[in-house]
């Protein structure tokens, strides 16, 4: 199993797919993508960032699609099928995360609808996180 990017998400048999964020040990600020170095809160000087799995479910903040093939470094499948994208507000941690959507077109999405995290392959093989209809 090759991930399109290391350290941003994890897939396990027990827990399914999780995005990996970081939590600041001092002020509790949570980040995605995971952050090295210092806390992004300007009033916190901590450099103790701990990796944690983020909630798997959230509500659609907004969505769209790419009717034309995006340029490189995206690898477009041939024939091209429009990529659907959703920005999803994660429960509990107050972060909106953008991702590809699996198995739903824009006509099937709505702002506020519940989705959950899964993974799927890019056209050239490696896996990336994706959103799908909540089970």
């Amino acid at each position: 199993m090759t991930y399109a990017i290391d350290g941003w998400f994890a897939i396990s048999e027990e827990d399914g797919v999780h995005l990996l964020g970081t939590s600041c040990a001092a002020c509790g600020t949570i980040c995605f993508p995971p952050r090295r170095g210092s806390c992004p809160n300007p009033r916190c000087a901590s450099t103790d960032m701990r990796v944690l799995p983020l909630p798997r479910r959230g509500r659609v903040w907004s969505y769209t699609n790419a009717c034309y093939p995006p340029p490189a470094p995206f690898v477009a499948p041939d024939p091209y099928v429009p990529v659907t994208l959703a920005a999803v507000e994660l429960d509990e941690v107050g972060i909106v995360v953008l991702g590809q959507v699996k198995g739903l077109t824009v006509d099937q999405l709505q702002v506020g609808m519940e989705v959950e995290l899964t993974a799927g392959p890019l056209a050239d093989g490696p896996l990336v996180w994706m959103w799908e209809r909540a089970s």
Partner: protein
């Protein structure tokens, strides 16, 4: 805060000309100098807004323009701040004048762009979010504009017809502007029949990438007064960064900041950009005669109207429908035709907006003229965290 004088402005017509960016910048600069009644050798300080798509000369554009105009020994600076580059270049020149380090400065921005979507700078760069958003998600700039548009529809009930009405308005204004790339009025039917690019935005909802150039001559008020001519004042340049946590998904990011540990600030980033400019100028939205705003998409113009305080959140569509933002309305928005009519030439666009403000305030905007214009605001946003709002007054 004391102001500096805008002594002259100049532009190269925008389009797809296929020539080096320096040509556009130099043409704009010579026009701005002519407008100011100055020679290049009168300029003590030249600032270039950089372009990242045109090789090394683009990275050091201040010196590149100086060389094209002929090495004169002027002090020089170059800066890049994405779409805020022009505003930041202007601010660098303004600050130097206000510090008393020079009297006359020339600010230049120009770009030559590729066809189609903007792409990340080349190479395999997995540490660069701009590269990664294409690689992992295929998330183009229009995809982000579409997310804002769809969100607006869900929150405020905007419709594709409202978005089309923005394009119709801006295309009409652009048809009256000899510097604009697109000079044909369009109908709502044409917009709504154009190909879908990123649902709900269609081709004619999204601004194109263009070639173009713009330049501004700034001077101290004392210098301008000695010359005995009237001038426009630059009353504010806002270059603020966002305040943590930034809870709007910004290009090219994958995610927002979290508002779980620290609540979201009172003003979101775009509103904060405008607020900082108002505060610096000692003016408010009620003082504006017109506004040039960053209409990367039709829908984004509506968001900006609210962020500028022209109306409460959710009411921009009504202002538009009532004709208030049209050329003869109470607060014309994008009387130049906006990016809808110009397209993006990144380092030039904030300067092009200033050219329009100056033309309007000097009463020489022709058929686009806002009657009695006294105060104009231009808003842009440098992605990756650069604010850009400029206020000019008579």
């Amino acid at each position: 805060m004391s102001a500096v004088a805008v002594l002259g402005t100049g532009m190269h017509p925008w389009g797809k000309w296929g020539r080096p960016f320096l040509e556009y910048g130099v043409a704009a600069a010579r026009e701005a100098l002519r407008d100011a009644g100055l020679e290049w050798t009168d300029v003590q300080y030249v600032v270039g807004a950089d372009t990242i798509r045109n090789g090394y000369p683009g990275f050091v554009s201040g010196a590149s323009y100086a060389r094209e105009l002929g090495w004169s020994g002027a002090r020089v600076a170059s800066c890049y701040a994405a779409c805020a580059s022009g505003a930041q270049a202007l601010d660098i020149a303004r600050t130097r004048i206000l510090a008393g380090l020079c009297d006359v400065a020339l600010v230049i921005g120009a770009d030559a762009t590729p066809k189609g979507f903007f792409k990340p700078v080349g190479g395999d760069r997995p540490d660069d979010p701009d590269w990664l958003r294409f690689r992992l998600l295929g998330a183009t700039n229009p995809a982000y504009f579409a997310l804002y548009a769809r969100r607006r529809m869900a929150l405020h009930g905007s419709t594709p017809a409202d978005f089309a009405a923005v394009k119709v308005k801006n295309a009409l204004a652009g048809s009256l502007n000899p510097m604009a790339r697109y000079r044909k009025p369009v109908t709502a039917e044409e917009v709504l029949a154009s190909p879908m690019v990123a649902d709900p935005l269609r081709l004619m909802d999204i601004c194109a990438t263009s070639d173009g150039g713009a330049a501004v001559v700034l001077a101290s008020q004392e210098y301008a007064r000695r010359r005995g001519t009237g001038f426009v004042r630059l009353a504010a340049v806002s270059t603020v960064t966002p305040v943590f946590p930034n809870t709007i998904l910004e290009l090219p990011d994958f995610a927002t900041d979290s508002c779980a540990a620290v609540p979201a600030p009172e003003r979101p980033f775009r509103a904060a950009i405008a607020h900082a400019a108002y505060e610096e100028a000692g003016l408010g939205p009620e003082d504006l005669s017109l506004a040039e705003v960053y209409d990367l998409s039709t829908a984004l113009e509506l968001d900006w109207m609210e962020d500028l305080g022209l109306c409460p959140p959710g009411e921009a569509d009504k202002l538009l429908r009532d004709g208030r933002t049209a050329l003869n309305g109470s607060i014309p928005v994008n009387p130049s035709g906006g990016l809808a009519s110009f397209g993006e030439a990144i380092p030039a666009q904030a300067l092009a907006q200033v050219c329009e403000l100056a033309n309007q305030l000097r009463g020489r905007a022709g058929a686009r003229q806002t009657a009695g214009a006294r105060v104009g605001l231009a808003a842009d946003q440098g992605l990756f965290g650069h604010g850009s709002a400029i206020i000019a007054t008579l």
